[in-house]
Amino acid sequence: MFEKVLIANRGEIALRVARACRELGVQSVAVYSTADAESAVVRFADEAVQIGPPAVGRSYLHIPSIIGAALKTGADALHPGYGFLSEDPYFAEICADEGITFIGPKPDVMEKVGDKATARQLMSAAGLPLLPGTVEPVNTLDEAHDISGEIGYPVIIKAVAGGGGRGMSVVHREEDLANLYQTTRATAQAVFKDSAVYIERYLETSRHTEIQLVCDSEGNGVYFGERDCSVQRRHQKLIEEAPSIHLNDDTRREVGEAAVRGALSVGYTGAGTMEFLLDLDGNLSFMEMNARIQVEHPVSELVTSVDLIQEQIRVAAGEKLSVTQDDVLPLHGHAIECRINAEDPDRDFAPAAGKLDVYVPPGGPWTRVDSHCYPGWTISPFYDSLIAKLIVWAPDRDRAIDRMQRALSEFQISGRGVKTTIPFHQRILDHPQFRSGDVTTDFVEQFMSEEAAAATAAG
């Protein structure tokens, strides 16, 4: 096992990783910008190094400063969390060059699965189902026309290097193709420094279903069931749950095994997620692989009783997975996570950051709050707006929803200029369609137009 792990991140995930280290008996090192000097992880970790000013380009994304902090403290491993440098193969390579174990897949594997077109080819070869579309980048407008005609509209154009819901456009009619093809490429170039795109069939209504897996370096892989993340707004997830009520045991096993097979076929090690779309007929199609721990990992932890961050650290240290597939299945109970963001749902989710004068998280049975916040902490405009992840567990979905409503009603957050997504979550949880579980990725949009229409009628 490692002696000392440097956490190259901030916010709740940095604290989450530091907690896992403490339980494993491993020393932790926090790195922080001047804006985060008073952050919870700086207080909690065994050591802390100030790495730069608030701007991420000179702190959390500044590789020399992070490597410098690791060398300064003698850390033998580095956990990248999510976002920032977590999926940067170049960074993983530098860590290796400096003799620091990067907690994640090997740089070349990360590069392969991070390229969406390559990932599609590899996973298709491993037997994962794909939507009709290209496995090679589409390099000319003529080609785009031919392919889209073949697949049939609507199609979706996606940046090969894309992620986080960025760099994709839905094309409903052929006459819009030329414009959207050019714009998507330009966006991809601007955001991801790579203009390559591919095209696939666009499903109007589908559910976002993802398989969590962890592979060790001895060729063992375990899938930890799936998560349903269909409650999203503009591709940003708001509510996640595990398991999906739309997968039966046979399908879960089939797709889980295929996902592990696909990951092992490329030499994947560490924690990763395979994203699928689930259509209304129950067919799954592979979308992409995320080579990192994800924000919503706690719901999988609660239905499998496995600490995924600890597993991630263990396998990076060269140890075997501590659990087998049989230990993990069947999934037990139901877990739901709500992302509480400092955003104003009534003003198009505009950031509403500020100092938290009041911060009282909920407690009680089977209620977990992953958060770096405390009374007096300031949600900084420099970083993302996540205040807390509220996660509950119950024996079944109905009772998990009831418990989440109870927990949300307990959560007190206020401060000058601060707004949260709590009321929005409460209204979604109250909606009969959410309660029924019949939710697809367009649910939030419909829900918001329904609310807007009701407000107009009432006004």
Partner: protein, 163 residues
């Protein structure tokens, strides 16, 4: 279901992307003397002109590409104890008081220095970052030694006002 406005949303995304790029640049340019820049992609272009913050001294533009002024907030505003002015590390790295091993130190306690004079080097991943005086003065204390690991904004040297 209403037909979504496709091209509009794609353009919005492009504008957002360009804006984020610009915003990132603005943050990265904190403390620098760059006053105007533009970012463009496709037909979308954002031009930014920055005012200099009130009271910020015009730190001499570093001559070499790798030279960095001492960490920004040392220059303006901070109350100084006993008239001593801190020179802080511009980034995380290894401190060196001399240009190379065996060479004489850049400065000694008691030396008078000019604004812009190199006082030390902080090495990060084999890049030598010069630490320069952001004002003239006399070296009153050197807190770091060759080979020390230093953090961002760690005080390396104190200057006192020259007579």
């Amino acid at each position: 279901m209403p037909e979504p406005k496709k091209s509009e949303s794609a353009n919005q995304e492009l504008v957002r992307a360009v804006w984020e790029e610009a915003r990132d640049l603005i943050k990265r340019l904190e403390g620098s003397t760059v006053q105007r820049f533009s970012v463009e992609a496709g037909d979308t272009k954002i031009e930014i002109e920055r005012g200099m913050p009130a009271g910020a001294s015009m730190v001499a533009a570093p001559a070499a590409a790798m030279a960095m002024p001492a960490a920004e907030d040392g220059a303006a505003g901070e109350p100084e104890l006993d008239g001593r002015h801190p020179i802080k590390a511009p980034l995380v790295g290894t401190y060196y008081g001399a240009p190379q091993p065996g060479a004489p130190q850049f400065v000694q306690v008691g030396d008078s220095v000019e604004e812009g004079q190199t006082l030390a080097i902080v090495e990060a991943m084999k890049l030598m970052n010069q630490v320069q005086a952001d004002r003239a003065g006399k070296i009153s204390e050197i807190l770091a030694s060759d080979g020390d690991w230093v953090e961002f904004e760690q005080v390396l040297i104190y200057l006192e006002a020259a007579e």
